[in-house]
């Protein structure tokens, strides 16, 4: 199983990343190495093994359904790269 340059390009698009031709080459070779390396896991028989999502299996942590102090809107928006009153501003998505 070897990863192609086109597959890496597709993954970059899906991840909304933009790679130069040189980065794409480097990334393809690095990702290929990683994928080939992890392929050794195929030797293992995982049939009947129960999946495990976390080392500490805490289940169903509930919080009391009570109103609690939250961040002030101004505080949260203070880090926005661009804002418009109480909204985040981004380039137009529709009607280009």
């Amino acid at each position: 199983m070897s990863l192609s340059r086109e597959e890496v390009e597709k993954v970059a698009l899906l991840g909304r990343l933009r790679l130069s031709a040189e980065e794409l080459d480097r990334m393809t070779s690095q990702l290929r190495q990683i994928v080939d390396y992890v392929a050794q896991l195929r030797e293992l028989d995982t049939e009947g093994v129960e999946p495990m999502a976390h080392a500490v299996e805490i289940r169903n942590v509930f919080a009391a359904d009570a109103v609690q102090p939250s961040f002030d809107r101004e505080q949260v928006l203070a880090n926005a790269p661009k804002r418009d009153d109480a909204c985040y501003r981004v380039p137009a998505v529709l009607g280009e």
Partner: protein
């Protein structure tokens, strides 16, 4: 012995006895940072003014015989991946270069409540991805024992500042060795606590099922002191265990004759450096001389651990890095340049009559995301972000766990 040569435990004893003030201690470390850190570059930012102010506050309360917290004026350095309210928290990334968190991480709240003096934020590999601290977008940190060598990473600044006596205590984070490895490279004591022991609320996430915050210091006793303050349940991190925190500073003095240590046979195989093995074997003999029983055990699946890590960590990093899109906070690409670029590409495609190319052309928002990430992330983040998802890894995690627990008769099960 100068103030900066003392361990945190010794300094705390002197502080509580009134032999020295928190301002004197803080100033001693700040002076040493001033003299030495231009070579080491362990710190990204030093907070001299706020540190001296909080030290003075501790001194006033101590003089007035009012209550003083557990750390009673000891300086603590914080890795720049942990949120400090109103103080820049960059993760050594251009992406968060100007990010001012609106809140303190739980560990920061705990440190402040314990009267720690927060002296500054330490350098790291960008987003905690790396093992040398060369991968910081600002500058690399050097190893205080030999400036031509790396301090390890990603908590390289945290380890180097303790080794160089620029801070008696520091906190780092560890996902796949990021406290333990730099602690080893710099010759200090560091530990990755058990998952759930320390709250991660306010720790910028890398791989959430693996990340932990932990202490670095010059002795096990100092690490015990700091962990006692950091540990404990926090409802804001739902994976944080609701289990009482032992008094580590007391239990550390207990004899080791009831302790059983497992030496993993598979970890002493090919690729192990002879000097490292000699140091580990020497440590084992010390434990034995203190009464611990040491036994060789087998973890047959351990050879798959790194491959499994390289699936789990990038998958989780991929979802955790998705939030850096230039919309809510952090870096955003220059929109004018971005729109001009799109316009040029569109014209070229139109001129060439390339209908397919026009169809595939990014929308302005998509191009904003892509340029923001191309400019804001280093190579390591891009590789992690381009990670892939695989359900298989969760099965492997179980296999690895079972190999550490073993069958009831297995010597690994104590």
């Amino acid at each position: 012995m100068s103030l900066t040569e003392r361990t945190a435990t010794e300094l705390l004893r002197d502080l509580n006895a009134g032999a020295v003030t928190a301002v004197e201690v803080t100033r001693a470390f700040l002076d040493r940072i001033e003299r030495r850190d231009s070579m080491l570059r362990a710190f990204l930012r030093v907070h001299s003014d706020t540190a001296l102010a909080s030290a003075a506050d501790v001194d006033r309360r101590r003089a007035a015989r009012k209550p003083v917290g557990r750390l009673g004026g000891l300086p603590v350095a914080v890795k720049d991946v942990i949120c400090t309210r109103g103080e820049r928290t960059t993760c050594a990334s251009r992406m968060l270069e100007n990010f001012l968190p609106p809140y303190d991480a739980t560990v920061i709240e705990r440190l402040r409540a314990a009267d720690a003096v927060l002296i500054g934020k330490t350098n790291m590999d960008e987003f905690a991805m790396g093992s040398t601290t060369e991968n910081s977008c600002f500058f690399p940190t050097r190893n205080p024992w030999d400036l031509d060598r790396v301090p390890g990473g990603s908590s390289g600044g945290a380890a180097a500042c303790v080794a160089a006596q620029l801070a008696p205590l520091s906190i780092g984070s560890d996902t796949g060795g990021s406290i333990r490895q730099p602690a080893a490279f710099c010759g200090v004591t560091g530990m990755k606590p058990t998952y759930g022991r320390v709250s991660r609320y306010g720790l910028v996430a890398f791989a959430s099922s693996l990340d932990q915050i932990g202490p670095l210091a010059r002795s096990a006793e100092d690490v015990a002191l700091l962990l006692e303050v950091l540990a404990g349940h926090d409802p804001r991190d739902s994976t944080c265990a609701n289990v009482p925190v032992p008094a580590y500073t007391t239990t550390i003095a207990q004899p080791l004759d009831r302790l059983r240590l497992g030496l993993v046979r598979e970890h002493f195989g090919a690729g192990l450096d002879a000097e490292v093995e000699a140091a580990v074997r020497a440590a084992v003999r010390v434990y034995e001389s203190l009464g611990a029983r040491v036994r060789e055990v087998s973890m047959p699946h351990s050879r798959y651990a790194i491959a499994t890590y390289y699936i789990i960590a990038p998958c989780e990093a991929s979802s955790n890095l998705a939030r850096y899109d230039g919309v809510h906070y952090g870096y955003r690409t220059d929109e004018r340049t971005m729109l001009a670029e799109l316009q040029t590409e569109r014209k070229q495609l139109e001129a060439a009559g390339d209908a397919r190319g026009l169809d595939d052309l990014d929308s302005a928002l998509v191009r904003l995301y892509r340029r923001t990430r191309a400019e804001g992330f280093g190579a390591e983040e891009a590789a992690h972000y381009a990670g892939y998802v695989c359900a298989e890894c969760r099965l492997l995690r179980r296999l690895l766990l079972e190999s550490t627990q073993g069958a009831p008769s297995d010597p690994w099960r104590f």
